[in-house]
Amino acid sequence: MEQLIDALAYPPIQRAVLACVLCGAGCSLLSVFVVLMKMPLIGVSMSHAAFAGAVLGMLIHVNPFLSGLILCLLTAGILGPLSDRTDIAPENVLGILFSFLMGVAFLGMGILTHTKAEALNLIWGSLLSLSGPHLAVLAAVTVLLVAFILLFFKEIRSVLFNRRLAAASGVPERPIYYALLFLTGAIVSSNLTTVGGLLIFALLVQPGATALQLTYNLKHFFIISAFSGIAACLLGLVASYLLDLPSGAAVVLAATAIFAAAYVFSPKRRKAGPKKGKPVS
């Protein structure tokens, strides 16, 4: 424990903790959308876009964070209009984009001969090597997401409930949906180096799935999700420090543990449970 408190005095550790909180908050707020709109693939697609972009950036000597962000935003820009076309199911669009981006990323990895280690960091994350400016970007996109949710809460509720009905009753659902895709791109790419591309996916699903076990109130849903995400990140970080585990993996396992607890103690399931299981006597 003392060891832990001592460690908090070091700026790299402080930055890592802050990044963890921001990552937990940002990803888990997005997970509300991912879970309620039933598009878990958006997380994988975006994280692979960010990953592919970063690898390409390393190849052509551009800041990998910047090139990751650009490819993410591009993906968001393609995804929106493409998934609105009625002749292809959005899951298929995501599946195709996802595999394409994975192909691009691994192609880049193959060509990249000298700095493979740096690219591997993108997969597993490297919390301790975070720079100040990077942290500022991370904070900015997280604040942007929170502002978006607060300002457009009633529009968001109606779009989450049913996009088509929202459109039919004069809610600008496309701008809301596209803004959401762009924010997902920004959050995912800026978090790529914290938890890593592979593990971001877990944080884009698990906190929302946790909240789904616990509440019918959308406001509480966002709050529970955010807190469980932040808790998973901090718990994971502490565990990785104390037990010398890889931080990304520890974060994801913590998130899974929180989800499992929520599932077991879910008041929603208990209320609905007996109805189904009741014998007809």
Binding site: K154, R157, A168, S169, V171, Q213, L218, A272
Partner: protein, 268 residues
């Protein structure tokens, strides 16, 4: 009676005019030269078998579908893209759609989403909207369900929520796409009676799409029969409901007969 409306001049006051509306898809024509005039406060049924183009027709009017031909709403020529003002004047009640039982929305909140577009950005739906929603739910005898999670309501209750939601939008035209499909017979009746009552109370034009000619709301006076994207009949409901017309439309022998003023349907 409804066709002339209260003012008596409603016939000359069309809220909706379709001229030669055609919807073309790679698999063929979904709508083929459909023309239709609907006056204020009319209650029109769009009836036809599966694949006749009924839903496509509603989608054209609602702004969900690209089309050829001329569409006028409230006297203004419209394409697929709508201004927010026009969109707000058209309400939409979908078929019963599946919802996750755990989805975080209460019945009253779902009803209130109908007011979101009307209120616009940055305006919270306050007490006034909540009261309106509650009054609608009371009228539908479901006020006691206001705070129940929507996903745990029955199909009939959810359809009533959809109706209340669309009414709260305060549209001039209400489009209903098989609102009673997949409900049991008693609940279908209940929803139809509710729709009649809403038509009497609200100053709205109703368009009601169905393939089930045995379950029509009493307030529906006019029927438009669609077959393979074409209008094959447009007139009084009683005129549409003949053995010959229906057998032709559904390509199946259907017999209708009347006894003691009630209409009976018989088919194998």
């Amino acid at each position: 009676m409804k066709r002339t409306g209260a003012s008596g001049s409603a016939v000359h006051d069309p809220v909706m005019e379709l001229e030669g509306i055609t919807v073309r898809k790679s698999r063929g024509l979904l709508l083929d030269d459909v023309s239709l005039r609907v006056s204020r406060n009319e209650f029109v049924g769009i009836i036809g078998p599966n694949g006749a183009g009924k839903t496509t027709l509603l989608n054209v009017i609602a702004g969900f579908e690209r089309f050829e031909g001329a569409l006028r709403l409230f006297g203004r020529r419209e394409s697929r893209k709508r201004t927010r003002e026009t969109q707000l004047r058209i309400g939409y009640v979908p078929q019963l759609f599946p919802i996750d039982p755990a989805f975080p929305i209460l019945a009253a909140e779902a009803v209130m989403t109908g007011a979101v577009g009307r209120l616009g950005f940055f305006r919270r739906s306050g007490e006034a909207e909540r009261e309106k929603a509650m009054r609608l739910m009371e009228m539908m005898r479901m006020a006691h369900l206001a705070d129940s999670p929507l996903g745990q309501l029955s199909g009939g209750e959810r359809q009533k929520v959809s109706l209340a939601r669309a009414i709260l939008q305060e549209p001039d035209i209400l489009l209903m796409d098989e609102p009673t499909a997949n409900l049991d017979i008693a609940v279908q009746r209940e929803v139809l009676i509710l729709i009649n009552e809403l038509h009497r109370r609200e100053n709205m034009t109703f368009l009601f799409v169905t393939h089930d000619f045995t379950m029509l709301p009493a307030a529906m006076r006019r029927a438009v029969l669609l077959d393979r994207g074409r209008v094959v009949f447009d007139g009084d409901v009683s005129g549409a409901l003949s053995s010959e017309t229906l057998s032709g439309l559904f390509r199946y022998p259907i017999e209708l007969f009347e006894r003691n003023g009630r209409r009976y349907v018989s088919y194998d």
